[in-house]
Symmetry: D3
Subunit: 289 residues, 6 copies
């Protein structure tokens, strides 16, 4: 067993984590992510931003499905690009961490852009295998590697990371220990970029639509305040915060009309439109000793 | 407008609170609580404990529904009695608070037992009206009163309470400000009793069944740890903690077979049986200055 | 003495506060702010953003000074407009607070835009007088009022504010008690907008240029981390954070070439260019009970 | 020197710890614990619970002393059994820690019940020797081992424990570092059981009787609140709290009449009866990362 | 009933406080404090510092007792003088608080020195009566007043105090709420002086001698660390800390040989000599808003 | 590269630290410290205490400069002696740490006095070299060693230090991580002595004179409160606090008249005299586990 593949019991420490891992291991054939990834071999596990081209819907019946699929994929890639735009100055000798790396899409984009080493961690053994296979196919297996590790306890070296991102993965873990781990991994002045859905404390508690999403994905969407409190407790200091909610709604509207709709589109649209859920990007720097 | 009936805007401070209030205001005809309350005029808004009598199911078809209703009601009253058993020494000159008083069931039981003044608060104006009407009917309106107030900000006098309880209402609010308010209201040495469902941190995050319940009731079930952290932060120190999960399962089994089943029985049974939800009683004393 | 004008000893509680008040009371004739304010009667006490028109420098000698003055003033107004753009939905019945209101410029802009009541507080009696006189001249003295009060202890009513801003004033006070006061004043869901210079923790400690600015203005520029820690501790949760550093450098470049240059331009330009000082806008919502 | 027997200076880090160790090292012949242990070879260092059989007093003069000794021992074993009843599911491959293991009584009972590895730590070298000798005699020296270690710094492996208990030993140490160590040692979901005397914050400060006990045993009985605050700070979350005070009074009444009475019986009985001391069992689970 | 004499139940909020009050109420004839106070009408409730004159022992048998009494009293007055030396600049319009004022000795000395208003609070009604009678006799009843109030909740006006002292009274209360109250009472820049016995954390836990003193006085001597943690939490910042242990030992040696010895001299001498107890003076300033 | 000389990037982790290191590396010829050190080979990097002999000024013109230099040096040595007087009992087998050791003056004095091992750390490579050369010259290179290390992360062994001091070096770092490191390094009961300038919270914020000093030395003088909060958070408990301000003013008065005056004398004298800066000695013990 390779050093990046420890015993399952070490990685999955609670029943909840086992359930989440099982969920992703068993969604090997989930049509959305695979179909979209097949477009250009970048398999994303996150949503998209930006206006969609109305022509994909208006055009001829024939090919419409493929056009929608390609358009959704384009919006997802746009989201990953926006995330990477905010990683700050990254050089070829730096090392990055993709926390909750899924099938590896954002990791490959990061490597393309910065030419540096990228490590991804995920608790789904299936995803580790899939993504490492992609790395082989792309000929970057020595630069982009995926590990069967818990992002709360990555086993990576202290101070080894110039940058870390989490792309819609923080709703599966508690933020305080997560950011304690990121604080440990980042070098002084290192950067963290987070894109996430978070529920809106300003409107009060958890809305029905948010609980519906939690149930669907077996996750626990955090309130917005939890992010800023956990960051502040761990010397991760924002330099940029952008509310992407308005930018992501078109993606969901297109997806609701697409062949890959799963039914979770409506709760997302309801939550975003009623203001009970934000789609937020937080860019923060690691300060302190 | 009486002093116990302030402007709606003061009591309902967020969209979420307005939604919760609307939920209860609009469930005026909810068959479960009303049907059960009609048995003996004690209208509960909580679940029951103890084994049910199998005879209520096994007996003749005729009257079975009534027998089940009566049995469910008996188990709910047993729960309220257990709660009151733990309120400690309460004298006729003491004052109690029912935090989230619903239609008033536990308040009336408390008055019967201790002969003292009881105040109930709820953010449902309908419930305030219903419960005060009951108090009139029972001839105790000078001793048991219900107020349209937020339990996070009751407006009651500092140090005025010998005892406070919350009977399955804490999942609608944040615990830290709630227990700050209870700390303020309780006299030194005063007692707080809480019965609540809380999700089990030991198994990890929020399970599907728990999210399903959250969605159904528009609530936010807290992890077990949140209770003990919020109590410790507010000088409320446990003297008794009892896991009632095993005791409440029969109630849900009976309810699942009853004419008042709403569909939420299955998530409850799943959550209790898989260990992702506890039904817990916490008894704590107010210490400190 | 009006209720908005308490005894000096109550407002200025430490020698430091007395020194700061004296500084502003004695800069009644400071050419920069007055000259710029004379352009259109909006007297600002903050810096500007956006590119300046090179024509103001390149044009004929005659009138150049006036052109520069007008241009600097235009950039300062642009800054105040950006701030007000982020105050969120404000209605005519809402009330706002300008914390550290100087000669009242931003307050008048806010009233123009939202048509609502604005209160400004400052510890300079001279500024209170000047700004209230402006309010009289503008015929809005019943809507826009300035008070001789400490922003750490405004004496305003709890929960009375829909929005609060501080426009380059937070470097005169400790952030924890300041944001505790803002938390107290804001209604649930109320908004706070802060524009400030803060020193950059990522580069480490306080640079020489930053200390030079501190000495010049008798202030204490806080590290960036201090803002996010104090906000998180006081239920003020960011929804937008924008680094305005690049946008403010042109203003300082123009000012350095202007007749109102005071010598402090060089430390500002050094600090901004070397990255030891940020010019930051933080937009946060008041959550919690 | 074996790895479980480090240099004295490492284990006993303060004068106070040296005094406590000396106390137990020098009480090698203390009649109470030895006499009672001789009954069946289980040497306890804690008190008992449950009603005693009045016949042991009422019976013939001859043999009364032995009957009393045996009865006290029976009640002490009942206490240890109750403690072990709450350790939750423990399998033969799990590892347990007896924190403050004395002469090893509870450790041997635990091994008998669960068939698993048990480590005990104590700062009395005499006790280590005595208990390890018992382990040899019982033929379980490979499974039950005692170490000359400070329970604040056991040197045991992180995450290695399924369960930990402290049986009347927490009054010798500060609770915050103790529970930080237990948090470190327990695996996720591991269980901690504590039986302890704690003084009652509800009645206020430390009573005379409690100080008398402190003086006698050179210990520092903590207030009840200190337990719950230290547990909450260390991710140890109660699932069961039982007040054993009423159950332990008979033990002390019998002991007061026994030949092994030491004079400390009266302060205990006074403290329990006046309510200034609780005899409490706390059962808590280790949550968090 | 005067405003400074509220209902007993308000002042004595726990059984412990009632016991402490009863202790002092019932020690009306305690020979030590009364005999020493009779020397010059200054009745102290604290110990002394400085070397005693060996002549008081060596001199003729006749009058020795009186000489010893007078010498002990002189040393106690020296202690009170040292305390007052550190109160900083106090003017005739300032107001002081004697927290735990006993029979009023230090309060009268403070008034003599500064000519300002002094309030003393104590939970012994007997002491309130005795001290106010002394104030009448001295003709300063309009300037020096004693109140039946709990020092945790004095009812005095916020920010009304230039200085506060506690002379050996802090071992009867929890320090966090005590210093929260002092923080509330002191004006910005006000001063607090504390003389107290505290146990020495450096040697570890509570020694036998310290528990013996706790038992004797029904008090709870705090560790040294508790003082500095509670001060830091309440914006009370030391400017002077002096270890008076060496200076107080002669007082106890003389007292041990005096006719007013009570038996508690030996534990004090043991504790001071073995280093388990410090006699400490802390001088701190109130900072913050 | 010796183990005490790690890669520069490890020691200097931020731009700020690099600037500070560069400052000291480039002040190799700074006349003050070198000239004074040449007197007797003890090169100090701190100021002095005590009255100067007026004869050094009043005497003949010839030799006056040398007399002043020698007198300033004498006062600096007196300061270092006072610091060492408070280190408590240190034996020849103990180890000490000089945190921010400059050219090594205090380290050599400590070794002379206690005969034990002393390690000094500094982020100036020039200073490391200079001080180690001095150690060679004095023949104590095996006992007194200087390391190119950051005092926030010394790399020294946990619990290895009997005593630590910082002599005017704490204004270059954040106190919380500094004292966390000292807590880690000190054995239980170990002692820390700090001499530092700190600004006076009682007067409020940072004065002009203090900012002027910050600018000159590229440092960040902390408020007094920051010291006591950071100590309390790290189990470092004061036993002695002395305000040395009055004792250091003569040194500055003499230095202002000396040939080594640098212009910073006036801000120091202003700050000390107006009360905005304290020169403080804090003596604290390491408690806790």
């Amino acid at each position: 067993m390779a050093p990046n593949h420890p015993a399952t019991a070490t990685v999955l420490r609670s029943d909840y984590q086992k359930s989440v891992a099982a969920y992703w291991d068993n969604h090997q054939q989930d049509s959305v992510n695979l179909l979209l990834g097949d477009v250009d071999g970048l398999y994303h596990h996150h949503y998209g931003i930006g206006d969609y081209d109305p022509a994909v819907l208006a055009g001829p019946e024939e090919g419409r499905e493929d056009r929608i699929i390609a358009e959704l994929h384009r919006l997802e890639t746009a989201q990953a690009d926006l995330l990477l735009d905010h990683l700050g100055g990254v050089g070829p000798d730096d090392r990055l961490l993709d926390a909750g790396s899924g099938r590896g899409g954002t990791s490959f984009l990061a490597h393309q852009r910065f030419g540096c080493r990228v490590d991804g961690v995920t608790i789904s053994e299936y995803q580790v295998g899939f993504a490492n296979q992609q790395a082989e196919l792309r000929g970057v297996a020595d630069q982009v590697r995926f590990h069967f590790r818990n992002m709360l306890d990555t086993g990576l070296e202290t101070g080894s990371r110039r940058g870390i991102w989490s792309n819609e993965t923080t709703m599966y873990v508690d933020l305080l220990p997560l950011y304690a781990e990121f604080r440990r991994l980042l070098e002084h002045g290192g950067r963290y970029v987070c894109i996430t859905g978070c529920y809106n404390d300003v409107t009060g508690g958890r809305s029905r639509a948010v609980s519906r999403i939690d149930e669907h994905y077996l996750c626990n969407i955090h309130p917005r305040s939890a992010y800023f409190q956990a960051l502040a407790s761990n010397d991760l200091i924002p330099i940029n915060v952008i509310d992407l909610t308005g930018l992501t709604i078109p993606y969901w509207e297109l997806r609701a009309k697409s062949p890959v709709a799963t039914g979770i589109e409506e709760p997302f649209l309801t939550a975003y439109r009623e203001g009970s859920l934000h789609y937020l990007m937080i860019v923060a720097d690691r300060v302190g000793p």
